[in-house]
């Protein structure tokens, strides 16, 4: 099979979404799509492995995908077709350990291929079997736990405004994934100011949490060289060298940043220091998709992610707009696919369950996807005050949503963070939020402490 044949087969087999129509790679009819899915199901994993989609001479991401592959680990599944691999993943033989043992046997194209012949329930059931656990000051990704990023963005990076949003989040038991701020200004001085704000809060509250200012990787490297308190280094990444170039990054820059952050030795229980964001459509929007469907391109970004032992990888699934994912149905499908592909590749997947106002989606769609992802064992989700990101102008999951899904599913925060929440009286002994009506007792005292810290 030629790379062009495989690209076409993968694209035609991909469940319908607007971005693939925009790129003019989608199947022309629903029947054609299912026929492509049948052909894909009969395609050997070995054949996919032997067909790099982009010329490795010109793409360092393609070279990385080839270099990561472990032929020894691949041997047990080397005779499988995509369909047989799906059947095996669903079977009781495919335990968490057995799937995890395939981490370096699987390539992005293999996991993307199998996802295309999975229903949503398959994506959930298989991903749930494959936890990915990472550590810095908290442990993220343990089964039965759901972490939350507090996203306290402010249009002018106002320190008190940011702190107020952080405190609101902590009072809901959120923040165990990261306190992660998208800065309004991407500069070393702005980044440092925000990092020092969180650092002060963390030390005052004696809270096991990690911070991240989502500036460009070069800004973080600059900050670290000047001694700023950098916990996690952020970067947006994608699945081709060309797309990464459009972000102004290369693999060697990511390595430099990872080494610098690790050398600071700021993690207490682990040294997973990277935070990556991805999203279907990113490569297409940079015209760097090489005729590859957007879901396969997204899975290729995870090959980049796992080369740098990230603490967190977040697919920002509905942010990009309706020309890539049109409505709640497409956003839901994409979120489950991304989580599934990430987990199979050993990536600590979280999902920004989100939408813009020009997408055919609303809060009900987000409730559904959040609940489905919690069933699937997603590592973390976002916590934005009242779902309304006043800096990025989109809607994500809220502190309330996180509290809802933890309660509905019986999920706990990261263990270190849960112990802290109990000690300050935000959570009860069972590990759940104390009722708000009982203000004046433990809950209120906890809040007062938080307020003191703000001033």
């Amino acid at each position: 099979m030629t790379p062009e044949d495989l690209k076409t087969l993968l694209a035609h087999a991909s469940p319908a979404r607007s971005g693939d129509f925009l790129a003019e790679v989608a199947a022309e009819s629903q029947e054609a799509r299912v026929k492509a899915q049948r052909r894909l199901a009969d395609t050997g994993l070995a054949e996919i492995l032997d067909t790099p989609l982009i010329d490795p001479e010109t793409c360092e991401v393609q070279r990385l995908i080839i270099d990561q592959h472990d032929p020894e680990a691949f041997r047990p599944i080397s005779g499988f077709s995509v369909g047989q691999f799906r059947d095996w993943l669903l079977s009781d033989e495919a335990t968490g350990e057995a799937i995890a043992a395939l981490k370096w046997a699987l390539t992005p194209e293999i996991v993307a291929a199998v996802s295309k012949i999975c229903r949503n329930q398959d994506l959930i059931a298989i991903a749930k079997k494959r936890p990915v656990v990472t550590k810095f000051r908290t442990t993220v990704g343990l089964p039965g736990h759901l972490a939350v990023r507090v996203q306290p963005n402010h249009p002018t990076d106002d320190a008190k405004g940011v702190a107020a949003s952080i405190l609101d989040g902590l009072a809901f038991g959120c923040g165990d994934a990261v306190i992660g701020i998208n800065p309004a200004t991407d500069s070393p001085s702005a980044m440092r100011r925000l990092l020092e704000l969180i650092e002060e809060l963390r030390l005052k509250l004696d809270c096991p949490m990690q911070s991240c200012v989502l500036a460009h990787v070069t800004t973080a490297i600059d900050c670290m060289s000047r001694g700023a308190p950098v916990d996690l280094v952020f970067q947006s990444i994608a699945g081709s060298q060309k797309a990464n170039s459009s972000f102004g990054i290369s693999l060697s820059m990511l390595k430099e940043a990872q080494d610098a952050a690790k050398s600071l030795k700021r993690g207490t229980i682990g040294e997973d220091v990277m935070y990556f964001e991805t999203g279907q459509g990113a490569a297409l929007s940079a015209n760097a998709h090489f005729g590859i469907d957007q879901q396969t391109m997204e899975a290729r970004a995870y090959a980049v992610a796992r080369a740098f032992d990230p603490l967190l990888v977040n697919t920002v699934v509905g942010f990009i707009g309706p020309e890539y994912l049109y409505d709640g149905k497409e956003i839901t499908r994409a979120g489950l696919e991304d989580h599934f592909c990430g987990k199979l590749l050993g990536v600590p997947m979280g999902v920004d369950v989100c939408y813009t106002n020009h997408a055919e989606a609303d809060q009900d769609d987000m409730d559904n996807l959040l609940t489905l992802l919690a069933v699937a064992g997603v590592n973390f989700v976002m916590g934005v005050p009242g779902s309304d990101d006043i800096m990025l102008n989109y809607q994500s999951t809220s502190y309330h949503d996180a509290a809802y899904v933890r309660r509905a599913m019986g999920l706990k925060p990261a263990p270190e963070f849960e112990a802290w929440l109990k000690s300050v009286g935000v959570f009860d002994e069972e590990g759940f939020l104390l009722p708000e009506a009982r203000r004046g007792d433990a809950g209120l005292i906890a809040r007062s402490k938080l307020l003191e810290a703000a001033e």
Partner: protein, 271 residues
């Protein structure tokens, strides 16, 4: 809830006591300190959000009052020219931004036939992602711009563009042979504002221009950059672009201070 409280009194107690985070709301527009019922949003906060989202959704799908805008401009003494992109209906517009950047065939003929060119400026009023915004104050801003420009400038008929993306400026500007295109376009509605206009300036517009070649002044709305005052500011930017013979980053660096010199930090300019 203690044993002598009914559910109703427990909820009433919760509502009376001030939320501990309320006093921090002075520092941010973020929806903090909303309170909770169990894990859920209190009814009022839930419906506040629903209403804001509904306004934004309505704005995205609102009808473009192209004829009313044209009448307002013609009453003020300016010729207009209605055009359409290739996007067709709203669903296609949202799915296919590429088609929103191309002029429909019959519209191209009308643009090419515009008499009196070449022009110094073509002003374009476009629905974009919020027809609500351009319906409400597009004509006001357009007249403000045109009145503030020198008398001897050759101005093309004001183009009223339906189904338009920002880059539709390029084929329009090229077809009418305009040195500068200025598009006033409805911005993607946010939860806090569904009626915000953006202004995009392109020097030497032609297909192939990128966002880096343009300058943008956003947040033009009564609660942001006042539509009554925006025309003058935009005209200053247009004249500076004509003087420097460029737009984009070079003009941004030069014009940044000029546009924000009065201390009003609400409007944002970027390339």
């Amino acid at each position: 809830m203690s044993s002598d409280e009914t559910p109703a009194t427990a909820i009433a107690t919760t509502e009376q006591s001030e939320h501990p985070l309320k006093r921090l709301r002075d520092f941010t527009e973020a929806r903090i300190g909303l309170g909770r019922r169990g894990a859920g949003l209190p009814t009022a906060a839930h419906l506040d959000f629903a209403e804001d989202h509904a306004k934004a959704r309505d704005a995205v799908h609102s009808d473009f009052a192209a004829e009313a805008i044209a009448s307002a401009l013609e009453e003020a003494g300016y010729d207009t020219l209605p055009v359409k992109s290739q996007a067709g209906d709203r669903a296609t517009y949202l799915r296919r931004p590429d088609l929103g950047r191309l002029v429909a065939d019959n519209s191209r003929d009308a643009l090419t036939a515009a008499e009196g060119g070449p022009f110094d400026l073509v002003l374009i009023l476009a629905d974009g992602l919020s027809a609500t915004a351009v319906n409400a104050h597009g004509a006001t801003v357009a007249v403000g711009v045109l009145k503030a420009l020198p008398q001897d400038w050759r101005i093309a008929p004001v183009v009223i563009a339906a189904g338009a993306r920002v880059a539709l400026s390029d084929p329009i500007g090229e077809a009418v042979r305009a040195k500068i295109a200025l598009m006033l376009v409805g911005e993607r509605p946010g939860l806090s504002a569904a009626n915000s206009l953006g202004a995009y300036l392109t020097f030497d517009p032609k297909p192939g221009r990128s966002d880096a070649d343009r300058n943008c002044v956003s947040n033009i709305r009564p609660a942001g950059l006042d539509p009554q005052k925006a025309g003058e500011k935009l005209a200053a930017l247009v004249m500076r672009s004509a003087e420097l013979q460029l737009s984009g980053t070079g003009l941004k660096d030069d014009a940044d201070d000029r546009l924000t010199a009065d201390g009003d930090d609400t409007p944002r300019i970027g390339s």
